[in-house]
Symmetry: C2
Subunit: 111 residues, 2 copies
């Protein structure tokens, strides 16, 4: 597999008027990275990934994060792990857009 470089990842953000937007950034054999992009008020409702750890890193904006029994405010510069099998969700509670980098290990579709 070859090196992959993506400059200025915030420029890859994709927003949708009806729901959270997604953008793929990088995919390796053991991890993948992408963006989840929220207009004000949009959310990613609670869900679970079986067998995948998911890392969240807030690049822009602020929101409310739920992972298992933990609910916390979450803003630019914060990091969180939703371990495999633990329910998690995210909502943009701020006045502006929210952009979060998500890293999955293993990547979606991995066997």
């Amino acid at each position: 597999m070859e090196a992959m470089v993506v400059k200025e990842i915030l420029r890859e953000a994709q927003f949708r008027p009806d729901k959270m937007g997604k953008a793929d950034l990088i995919r390796g054999e053991m991890l993948s990275a992408g963006l989840n992009c929220f207009e004000p008020g949009q959310e990613h409702s609670a869900h679970v990934h079986a067998g995948q750890d998911k890392l969240y890193c807030v690049l822009q904006g602020e929101g409310e994060l739920m992972i298992g029994a933990v609910t916390t405010s979450f803003r630019e510069g914060d990091l969180a792990l939703a371990p495999a099998g633990v329910e998690h969700g995210l909502r943009n509670t701020g006045p502006g857009r929210l952009v979060v980098m998500v890293v999955f290990a293993p990547p979606p579709g991995h066997r």
Copy 2:
């Protein structure tokens, strides 16, 4: 495994006068995240991780990144993947400090 949240990850940065500083942030079963912290001129010389993908995300500063045959400038907001088995290194070429978040999958010491 439980949820983990780290607020303001840049505040976890650890610098050393003699070489790159490291800080652990989060560890799951399938990935881990930490910081690599460089004073001006410091570098992480070329090395390889067998069986681990390594993701780099620049949080602050600028540098020169080498992955395999690719050498590129690398600054705040940029992302790169050093795939398992591919040599990579990083050097702070800017006037200020360089802080890079690194994500490993699987985490170091994983069996």
